[in-house]
Symmetry: C2
Subunit: 413 residues, 2 copies
């Protein structure tokens, strides 16, 4: 008997039929004698419906009130799933984030989980109940409702699994696992049986939409065993999805590169001709961080003539706001020559723990892109990934070429 | 400066435009220097949408989970109204029932308010905020979400006004006050400037849809000054609605009859030939009450040959369930001869504190109905009202005739 946290996304909860399907799947696990906690998202489309209703009332909806409103999406699905499970003859009980008490900070619309009280959930599990918890939401210390931001339900699932010391956290989604790259771009993409946390972290942060990055960070930090599965596989035909595991658990030889990730949601900004002196990076990025804008790649090359250029990328939706901060606050303050920006770029990355012990991965990657005439605008590397920024028009080509170059095509497996 | 609780119903909150209208109305009161607490219902249609979604998932939705779900309707509107008020430059903050802490019992879908914590609301009012509270909902002592049943937002408004010792509780609706009867049935119906609590209680309980009866009971019990107003009157053209007041406040001479109320939502059940002995009424109505069915009129006439007939009315939606309980549990248990029922009846009532000091009201009423050939099936009286049950096909005719008979037509005013 294991304690399993299962998380079902909005597509899995998208209609009454699908909710009853999820109930049957949960029931099968429960009937095997496991203790089950289920974390759910709102029905697909519901969060957007609520956001657009808010926009119809207020051009710039107040963040506190937006969270009060948007959190109702999951409050509906927890209740529906509990009803469906009771109809199958199981004991079930729903909890909002506030009722469990998922304590977060007070950053409305982008809150972070600080603590989870597991007392009620444990008590209910001990009474043989299936416990259903609203994902994506919590409360701050003053009892205000907060939400975790897009994709936050994954984080809720992992955080609950950590708080309950669950044996496994299963993320059910509309794909059956993590692939070497997006199969819509490269039909030869293969499903991975397992992937390390570090690789998953890079894949997620680089735009693989399977898991939300914060949930992977959380899982890594609290050593939660994470598995990505499909909620649409028929009974009896379920596969075991992709297990996200720790490197030391991985006995088999790793391939050099596990996958090619990419992200269209990027915009590039450059502060040109800033004085090359200590503290300049902080002076530029401090105000950006204060405005709660997530910065992704950061690049600063060696300077010349006492000045340097400083580039970074942000989500495309934040491009205008970031540009404004740079133009109005940062350029006059740091004495930069000009601000440059481009929101028609994308990022493509090769990820794999194998590159640690295999030199030459970068040059192989750059040569493959050069042979296709794809110009590289920015380069950034970590121990287990190499990312390049290229014009967004090349994105599919770049991904396909690299997938083949690193032997990830199905035929090569 | 007064402390005013305003309650806006689902029609007033029915669209983004209407919500902004409500915000402007609230803002005008606030700008006059009053402290304002607003209680709102869900957008019209939303509660039904949620109920039907629940029914799509589960044929008999679990009541606890139904409340978790249905309470989201008001959670959306409190947030929208708070956003709209902030856009007008006012400080505003929303609270769910659980956040205020509106404490109720645990009768899901029909909970009763036990206590309201006014600390947070008072603190916010003192900081010049407009406080917006979700109507219709609360939490029980275990933190479970509860709802008060249909129309419960009125009760929330009055209960908050009582807890805050507000100067006035204003119920905004789609009509501009309480009328002598439904103007859709009798075009000559007149708006009442004021009406006593006792009369309003009878009017409400007899089917006048303006106010929910529990809210009027609450207002009477806690001496809350209640006013019914329209939320659709244009700025500058607002009328003062109808004030519901205590008899001792009423200086002017009362008319004999204040209004003609009626209720289509009635079904009649008769237990025939029950032994005429003590305890029989309890044996019949006990199981009905246990099943949480609201009984309205109860009639038992003198018996003969040691048996008697026992009749009562219930809401039409409960007819089948009540009949089943009578047939299966009560008839064999009390040894009744048969169970009879009719769900095509209605109730028409004349209400007025004036009848206390004016004899002959009943006979005048019965004669007027007899002259139109309307057969009276049941009669029930209280100090300030006379109710008759008649075939539902006569409802409009009966109401029109009585409205004229008691001099309530506009021409007679």
């Amino acid at each position: 008997m294991a304690l399993i946290v299962q998380k079902y996304g909005g597509t899995s909860m998208g209609s009454p039929d699908r909710i009853r399907n999820v109930a049957r799947r949960v029931a099968r696990w429960k009937a095997q004698g496991h203790q089950i906690v289920v974390v759910v998202s709102a029905m697909s489309g519901e969060t957007n419906r609520l956001l657009s209703l808010a926009k119809d009332v207020s051009p710039q909806p107040d963040p506190r009130e937006l969270d009060v409103m948007v959190s109702t999406g999951e409050q509906v699905t927890i209740a529906l799933l509990a009803m469906a499970l009771k109809d199958l003859g199981f004991k079930a009980k729903s909890y909002t984030g506030g009722q469990v008490r998922v304590l977060t900070d007070s950053t409305f619309t982008k809150a972070r989980i600080l603590d989870i009280d597991n007392a009620k959930v444990r008590r209910d599990l001990d009474s043989d109940m299936v416990v259903i918890v609203a994902g994506f939401q919590g409360v701050d210390e003053h009892g205000n409702i907060t939400t975790l931001g897009r994709g936050g339900s994954d984080t809720s699932g992992v955080a609950l699994a950590a708080a309950l010391k669950a044996d496994e956290c299963q993320i059910y989604t509309d794909v059956d696992g993590v692939y070497t790259t997006d199969p819509r771009v490269v039909p030869e993409a293969r499903k991975l049986e397992r992937i390390t946390f570090e690789e998953m972290l890079e894949m997620a942060s680089l735009g693989s939409k399977v898991l939300q990055i914060r949930s992977v960070e959380f899982a890594g930090k609290y050593k939660v065993k994470l598995r990505v599965l499909s909620s649409f596989e028929e009974e009896g035909k379920e596969t075991s999805g992709t297990l996200i595991t720790f490197e030391e658990d991985t006995k088999m030889e790793q391939p050099i590169i596990s996958g090619i990730a990419f992200n269209r949601d990027e915009a590039k900004l450059t502060v040109l001709g800033v004085p090359d002196r200590p503290g300049i990076a902080y002076q530029i990025l401090g105000p950006i961080a204060d405005a709660n804008i997530d910065v992704d790649m950061i690049i600063q090359n060696v300077g010349h003539d006492g000045t340097t250029d400083f580039s970074f990328t942000v989500p495309r939706g934040e491009f205008a706001r970031t540009k404004k901060i740079l133009d109005e606050q940062i350029r006059p303050h740091v004495g930069a020559r000009a601000i440059d920006g481009d929101n028609h770029i994308c990022k493509v990355s090769a990820v794999g723990v194998g590159m640690r012990s295999h030199p030459g991965v970068a040059s192989k990657m750059f040569r493959a892109l050069a042979e296709e005439g794809i110009n590289i605008q920015m380069i950034s590397t970590s121990e287990i990934k190499i990312s390049v920024v290229v014009d967004e028009k090349y994105i599919e080509l770049a991904v396909r070429v690299l997938h083949g170059t690193f032997g990830l095509d199905q035929a090569a497996a």
